[in-house]
Symmetry: D2
Subunit: 381 residues, 4 copies
């Protein structure tokens, strides 16, 4: 079977993630060499056709759709990218898979574990490639962290300490949005940002969560309804802050916080991993760097080394620019889609895939159960 | 009643804490003005008289004792400083109190909550002043954090995130020491270092813990017995790492890690407190600084401000040197004893006292219970 | 006169700067709203047509040219972007201007002051818009620094301290390249990177250099000739490191280092500006941040504030992503071309222009003269 | 000749440096083991006897003197410590030497090169030990930097970049003090703080300055006379900011700034040294750390390593406390006097000595000459 010469993409969603993905497909070949052409065939979203047209022109999408059933069934599309709120993921993905499309789906994979399992089942049955959009894996620095662990630089891992802190809803006058509605978003800080910490743990260390105990809290329980600002307030039905403790299959322990109420923290996605031979610290606000402590060095020289991950020898060549000229938030999405498209064309396994998405969802669901039951919750393999 | 002209001190213990306290009493008047003379009357420890004499000469103690019952009953001593392993605290403190001595006792106050309550009872009955040695309260920076909260600079507090990380026992060949023996130390990372995070939370925020869920783990379960290196290994009976989640009386949440296995972290005592108006971040490795985020500033100027806490207007005059010339680890003990001696002479309430010690012990005990029962544990008022 | 509906661009150069500019034009409309369409008409470089074609396809250039005389004279091009080594700037720019093209020219504007003046003269005569590519001005953080100075937040400025440090030629086996040949590059660290520090000073503070004294050094004086690796070595004819002191028209002083031999520093472009009311610190390695010290705040709260320049209220909306999701090296070029194209369409003054380029060149030339004469050199207005 | 059993000290000066030295002698034996007893015999200063007595009691000086001629001639004193303004150094030191006293003299050694040479001559003739108080050499971190260079970890050194920045006189209402009067202080930022950068360069690298070009500026030229606040203002006769460039005997270059007008910088004493094999960065505000870049490590792991200099294997055992429990500003003076007293007792060469003081003074004088003549000035060997 010959390799396809092009991958024709259809994107659903044109908000924050719709933009990052559009930018990624548009620039997919500028950094990493692609084995094929990427065709930006169509973008679909619930909006006026004029708005959608403008969005499409701006990013380079050839056509627009307003009904997602149409885009997932178009013959001239190979890959469907689902960048919509979580409650829509399942139907879109399953339908796309049924039509034989490869699927890229934003994280968290779904609003429930059951949904995510159904989605995995669907892509497996359809025999299509699948990607779950844990984009931080595609930063050169987080990829280097994984590489160091794989090379044995940490030895046995003792524990993981992670925090993902934002503050965008601290203001009580910040009005209701879909991300604060459980029906649409599934959960709050948990699925939106703790999901990244969970995936980063699994990705870098290769460890699996075995049990968790969690605490979830809604700090501001109702907010202005933007569609009726002077009317009754809308109920916030998701967690503003989630904490949980964990254990792993190798005996290590974990400690996690995800919050949207850390005043002053904008996108403070932080993880530290401590092992017998060394430690790693990664922080999104400094994502062009990786901190590495090497306990095998002479004592007098030991310390955390701030590695600027921009050399040609670093993952993804350390970015498209010369050493020291770092990348931005949008750039790791370029790596993600470039590598996913390459995996499709070369018919190779790809990660993060829907299995990774389901594994993450298991942890999310266990944390939520634990927060409700006030008990530790086991995670089945 | 006239104020005493001098406070005559007797110290029990001459290891790490014995040294920091000796240094503190020796230099108590060099930084802060004292209302009386401090007389370093006697030091007591289990050692040869020669060793003890050398220690005493070096630090300026006038005499030595090898039996603690003697030092706590000497007529020429006003203040007993207990700087011994935790299992000895109760008897020493109660006996000292019975003899009418004011007492400074290292943290954690005792190995169990019951012991600590008995100690509080004893000092209350004796009507003596008491100090529990949470020395980090005496850094100008942590004191400034409290002042900022008291001034309302944070507003309602949302949550606390704290981690105290060390790595001094990562090496499997590190031999058994008393701090790893539950009978002597009470607990491991929990009582030794989580205790500081618990106290820092209470001190800075004024909030009280209401419930916790914890996880404790011994990573290396047996170690070389230094008294019989080729014989059977000694059992490690304390936690190497402890994590816990908490809730507070005002509805805030907390997330804590204390570990002696964070390879590369030496004394990384870190706390962040997020409130509606601002946030604070304090880290011992940068303890001449306090980080403050002020959400009431114009948006364009908002950010964490790195305040170098060395101005005359800062607590304890920001240290004994000019601005920018920071203090070291030993110096906060000077503030602690200077302020405690002053409280004795001026007959004024002092904090951190044994009530603070008991409050901390309640949390320690609850965390341990929770780690055993795998349940959330309520903390009674 | 109606505004043009599109700006048709021709780029000369396809190396490092050719790539950053291609990326910038390709994505010019994704972040900032453009008043017109940008047409990537042609790219020109000395290379095989096949290579050039591949480059063009990758970035989206419609056509290729191998003779620069052709591209600057094409009727279907409005704007010529010169991203070639310095020795080519003058002829290309003057020729482009003669053909009525607007011109974007990389910095330093030319290899000599005389050349740069001739170029300024040419664009003035032609009445075309001109941009000198000091791209760091287009980071939201450096733009915020300027804004703060303009708002009076620093008051009278006392001094500027800047360092631009790299290490890409520390290895003695690193072979000869055009940037090390004075005939092609004009100078080494001086024109390549000190130029950025000089421009940053002028941009942020508005001050003009009045005199300088400098020191220039070539550390490795000859290198392998890549075209004849076993033959005689090629002479390095530019500075590896340049230092200079300066004075400004308002009485302030300056201190500068530019070096390619700061082992471990990759693109460490750093500037600190101290004034009577406050100070600013900007560092490219943290270019999503600006550090601001405000001496008008209460003493207890004073300190350097680390502003994450990603809010909508910050210059250029703080980047295309939500708060905390920073930009990368390539992104500021997008701002640069977007704003330049906008200035062309709206017929408005634009900075940095060739006047800024000439002002910078005056300082570069004075530093070089000073390094030769071992005297202070005055800079005429 | 048997070693002395005690060293009896006389201190002249009881201001800032008088306090740091008093603290140092008082605690000299607490950290490092001394080969003898240190007797704090007498302190001398121009003050009321009551004030002086209080100072002496506080720090532990046995007696007081108000006439420096008396203290330098007392038979019961072995070591004179001169901690007075610079204009008094020469006479005091020479007189002390004549009486056979060992001498510790604060930096800069004198107000002029001629004075400093006379002082060196005097101690040489008297055959006494001498120390010039460059106290930062006695931080474990700066000592580790020197050790790394001595071990060849940097290889050939390319250049040095140093800045010492303070802001204590930015306020125009800050009144006249002796440090702003050339007759008393010799110079301003130059002798007070650039002297430390000059010494740090010589100490760590072993290189000697061969020529300099400098610029000195008085920003606020007159200030309130504190003895007559409403009368005519006092003239400031020293530099507020000094910059200079340098060359070294091995061909390396240097770039220096010393300023008291860096708003927001309190005691920002910073030096970076770049060599072919590695680089070092030391900053007083983080003086428990040393940053080391090792170019011999695998490229993927290279970066600046933040070494916390608190291990037993580090110089001076990394401080008196366990790893991670850093020292403060006052502590390095303890190392300085402990090592100087040890050198006296063991009759061994000591550094920094008056030769180091004179070498520094040569550079200071050359910078000042250069600032006046606007020429490069050679430094004779």
């Amino acid at each position: 079977m010959s390799k396809p010469k092009e991958i024709r993409v259809g994107l659903i969603g044109h908000q924050f993630m719709g933009k990052t993905h559009s930018n990624a497909f548009r620039n997919a070949g500028l950094w990493l060499e692609l084995p094929c052409k990427v065709v930006m065939r169509a973008v679909c979203a619930k909006d006026t056709e004029a708005n959608l047209k403008k969005f499409a022109d701006n990013f380079g999408w050839e056509s627009v759709e307003t009904d997602w059933h149409k885009i997932v069934s178009r013959d001239d599309i190979d890959l469907i990218d689902v960048a919509t709120p979580g409650f829509l993921h399942k139907d879109m993905v399953i339908e796309a898979a049924k039509h034989g499309k490869h699927v890229l789906c934003e994280k968290p994979l779904a609003n429930t574990l059951a949904e995510s399992e159904a989605m995995l089942d669907a892509v497996n049955k359809a025999g299509v490639r699948h990607c779950c959009g844990f984009s931080y894996r595609s930063t050169p620095s987080q990829a280097l962290a994984k590489k160091f662990v794989d090379e044995g630089k940490l030895g046995k891992i003792f524990h993981v300490h992670a925090r993902y802190a934002q503050d965008w809803i601290v203001d009580p006058d910040f009005a209701m949005v879909w991300r604060l509605d459980k029906k649409l978003a599934g959960s709050g800080a948990l699925g939106d940002i703790a999901a990244h910490s969970i995936d980063a743990t699994r990705f870098i260390t290769g460890m699996e969560f075995t049990r968790v105990v969690g605490n979830m809290k809604t700090i501001i329980t109702e907010r202005i309804n933007p569609e009726n600002p002077t009317g009754p307030k809308a109920k916030v039905t998701v967690d503003d802050v989630t904490n949980f403790l964990s254990e792993f299959d190798n005996g290590a322990t974990g400690c996690y916080e995800a919050t949207r109420f850390a005043t002053g923290r904008k996108n403070a996605n932080h993880i530290e991993i401590n092992g017998e031979k060394g430690s790693l610290m990664w922080d999104f606000e400094e994502h062009n760097f990786l901190y590495f402590f090497d306990r095998t060095r002479p004592v007098n020289e030991q310390g955390f080394t701030k590695i600027i991950v921009t050399e040609n020898t670093h993952p993804f060549a350390g970015g498209p620019w010369p050493p020291g000229h770092g990348i931005g938030y949008g750039d790791s999405f370029i790596v993600e889609v470039a590598n996913f498209v390459t995996a499709i064309v070369e018919n190779k396994e790809f990660h993060p895939d829907f299995v990774d998405g389901v594994k993450c969802q298991q942890v999310l669901e266990a944390v939520e159960q634990s927060a409700n039951s006030r008990q530790w919750v086991e995670i089945s393999k």
